[in-house]
């Protein structure tokens, strides 16, 4: 070995502790490194139920693993993406402010493409073996983008609609029926304004039902005649918009805003991405107990929520420990409890121990929550390019006024 090489080796030894990323394959090492770390979990902070769950998860991980969790409450997930981007622009390649991000879809695709993520690590987590990889393809394909271990799932979501049976006993079960009903009951339906993710999801859900061949949505839009494929959606929306709440001249700015609108009696029907949201809102006194949930006849879009670690995160080991805890049967069962969150689990029941299976079986799913059979199979999310283009077109058509 030359002197130079020795010097290199020495330098590597000296600098390694400061720069070394934890190796997820050496879980014991991860746990040791994580102890005493503080994880800044950047997650949307607009819903009290999720905030309370995150607080609980933080308390548990601190008690079990000595990892402190701080919930950085975002009003938009992209704020965290901006932060990481600004740090890279400034050359701050370690010691970043963001340790873990609640993420999926377009934000994940953007961060993955820009090389802003640490990993792969997710599939090396001890609890990964419990994950229902076979039954839930969305867990490894986030809006058709392969996750490749760069993010770990923690909750399943599926589009449902909720309605107040006191005012609307028989809700429309398909998009054409929705249009007919809206014509007869103008001003009683709306959806969050795209590019709010739930509003964009409404567009995708409608497109699914109206398009001639839904399989086209699984590829990028460049591969198809976009104008032709999307034409039925725009025809549908052109007809629907004048019958929306406020004649489509204003929209709620987020999903939870619809809960307030329904409680105020301004709308009779709303879209949600959380099958348990209505039950949770009833339990919180935000909705009357006459509200119920349903899915459309042709099935509805489902996806998964993930957590990802930025490439320059400070507490990578702590973040992995937290992500692993989120996959534990304890955390998953709590998240599924409608009194807490009402999120679907990502675990496979047949992979769980008897005692853990019981945790899920004991749950009272709430009066407005559908059973997995009633929910039916989830439709896969379209390729992210669809969402981007639909949002841009929606903006140009309906987002700019008359």
């Amino acid at each position: 070995m030359t002197i130079l090489a020795r010097l290199y080796a020495l330098a590597a030894l000296v600098t390694t502790p400061a720069w070394a990323d934890p190796d997820p394959a050496d879980w014991q090492g991860v746990l040791e490194q994580a102890r005493g770390q503080t994880v800044y979990w950047n997650a949307w902070g607009g819903a009290t139920a999720t905030n309370a769950f995150i607080r609980w998860a933080g308390d548990r991980v601190e008690a079990r693993n000595g990892v402190r969790v701080v919930h950085v409450k975002l009003s938009d997930t992209a704020d965290a993406v901006s932060r990481v981007l600004a740090e890279r622009a400034a050359g701050k390649h370690s010691g970043g402010a963001v340790d873990l991000i609640w993420i999926n879809g377009a934000n994940f695709a953007a961060m993955k493409e820009a090389g802003l993520l640490f990993g792969p690590w997710a599939e090396a987590l001890p609890n990964w073996r419990l994950v229902d990889v076979a039954g839930k393809p969305a867990l490894r394909s986030d809006f058709t983008v392969p996750t490749e271990g760069l993010e770990a799932p923690w909750a399943m979501a599926q589009v449902v609609f909720y309605h107040d049976t006191a005012r609307l006993p028989d809700p429309p079960q398909s998009m054409p029926a929705l249009l007919d009903w809206a014509k007869g009951n103008p001003g009683r339906f709306t959806y969050p304004q795209p590019p709010d993710f739930l509003g964009s999801t409404f567009l995708k859900q409608a497109l699914y039902e109206l398009v001639s061949d839904p399989s086209l949505l699984q590829g990028p839009i460049e591969a198809v005649d976009y104008a032709e494929v999307s034409a039925p959606l725009w025809a549908f929306l052109d007809e629907l918009t004048p019958h929306l709440w406020r004649q489509g001249r204003a929209y709620p700015q987020s999903g939870p805003r619809q809960i307030q609108l329904m409680a105020d009696g301004e709308i009779d029907l709303a879209i949600s991405f959380s099958p348990g949201e209505a039950s949770t809102a009833i339990a919180n006194g935000q909705l009357p107990d006459t509200v119920r949930t349903f899915v459309l006849e042709g099935g509805t879009i489902g996806n998964a929520s993930f957590v990802a670690i930025p490439y320059n995160a400070t507490a990578k080991a702590g973040a992995m420990v937290l992500a692993d805890f989120l996959l534990s049967p304890e955390a998953q069962a709590r998240a599924q409890d409608p009194d807490v969150l009402g999120y679907g689990t990502v675990l496979a029941m047949d992979k769980l121990a008897q005692v853990d299976r019981a945790r899920f079986a004991e749950l009272d799913m709430g009066i407005a929550t559908l059973s997995p059979e009633e929910l039916g199979p989830a439709l896969p999310e379209p390729h992210p390019s669809w969402m981007r283009q639909l949002e841009a077109d929606w903006m140009a058509r309906y987002g700019l006024g008359d």
Binding site: N107, W245, S254, E266
Partner: protein, 564 residues
């Protein structure tokens, strides 16, 4: 002596450095330079993309229209009221509620107003179904109307107290009482007389606050999101949306939009300046024409009614949020909730305790720094002013710059600067970020009384052998304790209300009551919004209450100051 002499320069550097660097950091991506995203060389593509955006025309029109209207209406309301009621008991009563009104954060006030005027709001509930026949809320576009009328109303309700405070502070310096006596002796009515002889002396002193209101109203984000139209939104909101777009290449168009926003604000100020000139000419002819004016009573009532409407809307909105914070289920058209529960306070308050402490800490440190710097600047201006007064005063004018430049135009750049400088996101950096905004407001509310102080007191003290510092500590500061404490409370209130600086510079790691409130507002749960908005307002009101109570304690052995 030397540190004091350097105070204005140091303060200027502390304020202007971040703003200038922030502007540069926003200008570069607007011109296509952002290496982290592959923007290596200058290009006009970001501006091309901006001008291709189909909503631009309306977004620009909204920014200009709502900003200019809100500023003009606020100023008119304040002028009408002060003209009609100067020196009256009504005025003194209103002065007392000014501070609490100022302390309501913009977002909280806007949310409260939404609950008042929405078709499912309190006013509609109070009238339904007995008067209106509404069993369900009517489908009326009142909030978020495409013309921005609701947004203008919300801005006016919040800017009237601010301009009122600034006007009242300027009145003594303008010699208003003696001028009015002359006008009344010549047979002018109160409103006409005030407009003709006092307003011309007052306006130059409140010009900067008026420009600050204009810049703020044109580029406000939180109020616009809550009350303003969204199809399309005003330009500043769209800029923030582009910044938040998952498609990172949108940062270029966002920066170009931020630069356009800056241009718009500068253009609007130029337009305002032109109007000042034209109206000033017209006003001179009007004053010289000798007309005694008609309809005095109507104008006075108009001033009173509009001021009461503005203040009442904020107070009633806050009362609505307070009711929501303890509401069980609350169905339309019930005017009151079905039950009262403290569970939201019980679940939210412990979680917010740490945030509360942090907010107080940041506000206290930022305000203390601002206070020291402002006092040093003013004292330096007073002591050395005769030697190079023009330079120092000219320099102080620049301190208002952070209020005149739209936040979206320099905060993102400022964030990058903090990162490049290797500063770790933390409370210290956030304090600096807050200081940039706290300092101008402290200066705004302290400069007039400080400069109006009768310097003969100093002469008397000096003949008795007191040095400059002794005069400062024993004579000037005790005499001016009330305005100093008011300025402190204003500074603290400004710090508590900061959203974008806390979020961007703190990297999201530094959470304040305001960042919490805005994050929770995105969820639209009025109960939780009520809890945070009340905590926010309560904290700031506490500051103002202390500012009112402390002078009484300080002056307990200085009887002569008590009425001052």
């Amino acid at each position: 002596m030397r540190p004091l002499r350097a105070a204005p320069a140091v303060t200027l550097a502390l304020m202007l450095g971040p703003v200038a660097a922030g502007l540069a950091g926003t200008l570069a991506p607007a011109l296509g330079i952002l290496p982290a995203l592959g923007g290596e060389r200058p290009a006009i593509a970001p501006f091309e993309a901006l001008f291709d955006w189909p909503g631009l025309e309306r977004a620009v029109a909204l920014s200009l229209g709502t900003g200019l209207t809100a500023t003009a209406v606020s100023l008119m309301v304040v002028v009408l009221f002060v003209a009609g009621w100067q020196g009256s008991r009504t005025m003194r009563g209103l002065e007392r509620v000014l501070a609490p009104l100022l302390s309501v954060p913009h977002a909280a006030a806007a949310l409260g107003i939404v609950f008042l005027i929405a078709p499912s709001g309190w006013i509609a509930r109070a009238l339904s179904p007995w008067a209106t026949g509404w069993e369900n809320p009517p489908d009326l576009l009142i909030v978020q109307d495409p013309w921005g009328a609701a947004m203008v109303a919300g801005l006016v309700a919040k800017e009237v107290p601010f301009l009122m405070l600034m006007t009242l502070a300027a009145l003594p310096q303008a010699g208003a009482p003696s001028r009015m006596e002359v006008a009344r002796a010549l047979g002018y009515g109160p409103v006409t007389g005030w407009m003709k002889v006092v307003f011309p002396a007052v306006y130059p002193q409140i010009r900067l606050p008026v420009y600050a209101v204009l810049a703020y109203s044109m580029s406000v984000v939180d109020v616009a999101i809550i009350l303003g139209p969204n199809t399309p939104p005003p330009l500043a909101v769209q800029v923030v949306r582009w910044m938040a777009d998952p498609d990172l290449s949108m940062r270029f168009i966002a920066s170009a939009g931020a630069m356009l926003q800056l241009g718009l604000v500068l253009g609007a100020m130029a337009l305002w300046h032109l109007c000042e000139h034209v109206l000033g000419q017209a006003g001179r002819r009007w004053a010289e024409s000798g007309g005694r004016g008609h309809g005095e009573g109507v104008l006075r009532m108009l001033g009173l009614v509009t001021v009461l409407l503005a203040g009442g809307a904020v107070v009633a909105g806050l009362a609505g949020l307070a009711t929501w914070s303890v509401a069980g289920f609350w169905r339309f058209p019930e005017p009151w909730p079905e039950g009262i529960t403290l569970r939201y306070w019980a679940t939210q308050a412990p979680a917010l305790a740490g945030t509360l402490g942090r907010t107080v800490w940041i506000g206290t440190v930022a305000t203390a720094l601002a206070l020291v710097l402002v006092l040093a600047c003013l004292e330096a201006e007073y002591r050395f002013g005769s030697m190079r007064g023009a330079r120092v005063s000219g320099g102080l004018w620049l301190l208002y710059l952070p209020l005149l430049v739209p936040q979206v135009a320099f905060l993102p750049g400022m964030q990058s600067l903090a990162l490049v400088a290797g500063m770790t996101a933390g409370m210290g950096v956030v304090v600096i970020g807050h200081l940039v905004f706290v300092l101008p407001y402290v200066l705004l509310s302290m400069a007039a009384p400080w400069r109006a102080w009768d310097a003969r007191h100093a002469t008397v003290a000096a003949t008795l052998g007191a040095g400059p510092w002794r005069i400062f500590w024993s004579v000037r500061l005790p005499m001016l304790i009330a305005p100093v404490l008011t300025a402190t409370a204003v500074g603290f209130a400004v710090s508590v209300g900061q959203y974008l600086p806390s979020l961007l510079i703190g990297g999201g790691r530094v959470q304040t009551l305001t960042t919490e409130a805005v994050a929770l507002a995105s969820g639209g749960d009025r109960r939780v919004i009520g809890v945070t908005a009340l905590m926010q307002t309560g904290l700031v009101m506490l500051g103002f209450a202390l500012a009112l109570a402390l002078p009484r304690i300080v002056t307990r052995n200085r009887r002569g100051l008590r009425t001052a």
